[in-house]
Symmetry: C2
Subunit: 203 residues, 2 copies
């Protein structure tokens, strides 16, 4: 497609709630549709943008603002920028939403009990024992977004279902052409148009 619409797709939620997993599925689907997309998730950000930042409130805010800055640069130039970061504080998410023209927030919701039971990275155990301080959901607040564009539930649906629901919302908002719309010209029709243009010397 020609000029795609740039927007930021912001995944927020506690550690282990599925932000990166679903973000990567959505990325894949957007790429399959020929769209330009970049993902800024925790690993990429820690390596390339956040070295030297810790887990104090101030440092966390700086980190989120920094991801927001890059998402803004990309999205205002027609690229889809996917941010996936815990981003626990509402006021900072609001600030980023205000800064970016096209902003879509995906709240990755999961019961804390389930996150503690899963504990894929062993972080919740360390947070509960006090080995990790300021851990979101345990010893630091997570402020759930009051009005996200999409809420996904990693304790109740598969990541594929979540990704499909995000895609449906993006289509509904007009940020992404619907999968069917791309098929609106048949091969025959395309050939006919091309033949005419060729006859006129335009191709």
């Amino acid at each position: 497609m020609g000029n795609q619409v740039g927007f930021a797709l912001w995944f927020t939620g506690m550690s282990g709630a599925g932000k990166t997993t679903v973000a990567r599925l959505v990325e894949k689907e957007l790429r399959n549709r020929g769209l330009k997309v970049e993902v800024l998730d925790g690993d990429i950000v820690r390596t390339n943008l956040s070295k030297g930042l810790g887990f104090s409130k101030e440092d966390r805010d700086t980190n989120i603002r920094r991801i927001g800055f890059v998402c803004d640069l990309l999205s205002r130039n027609g690229v889809i920028a996917i941010g996936a970061a815990i981003s626990p504080y509402q006021v900072i998410r609001d600030e980023i939403r205000a800064r970016i023209d096209n902003f879509v927030e995906v709240y990755c919701r999961c019961d804390l009990d389930v996150l503690i039971k899963r504990d894929v990275k062993g972080l919740y155990e360390k947070a509960l024992s006090g080995e990790i301080k300021n851990f979101t959901g345990i010893s630091d607040p997570y402020e759930a977004p009051p009005d996200p564009e999409v809420t996904i539930y990693s304790d109740r649906e598969t990541a594929e279902t979540s990704a499909a629901r995000v895609m449906a919302k993006l289509e509904e908002l007009g940020y992404v052409p619907s999968a069917e719309a791309e098929e609106s010209y048949s091969d025959e029709e395309k050939e006919m148009v091309e033949d005419r243009l060729r006859a006129l010397g335009y191709m």
Copy 2:
């Protein structure tokens, strides 16, 4: 224009050598030609990407790598990313060049005597008196690039001339369509084509 070529345009040189001034002129010209462009200069970077970094060798390297990371994100998505930072060390500039597919280096050269005489921001005086430590060109090395795509001389040419020379190189490299090429269709010809397309129901 339709699909523009993304590339990074990297201005390197000592403080006061004209990096941001020429970068902003080039930015303006690129925008006038309808191209997507972002400038990452010292001020923007300090505010949005580098908070907390100091002037140690390690922190400076981190800062430059970070700007390089963002320039890569933008340029690989078809945007022109202009970086303007002292970036004194050759090995880091080489690293960034290796990372970015389309990389154009502009060496902003100016005799140190002239920079010290100008001293617009009063930084050289402070560096010479020892008030500022690790100041590039005084108490910290500036490694001139051995093979930049363009060298500009702010002590011998106007900023406008420098900007025009950068634009000429970008055209020569094929990253930017030449100003004349855009005029290859006259208004009359455009109208004729549009009339035909309208008659055929395509417009």
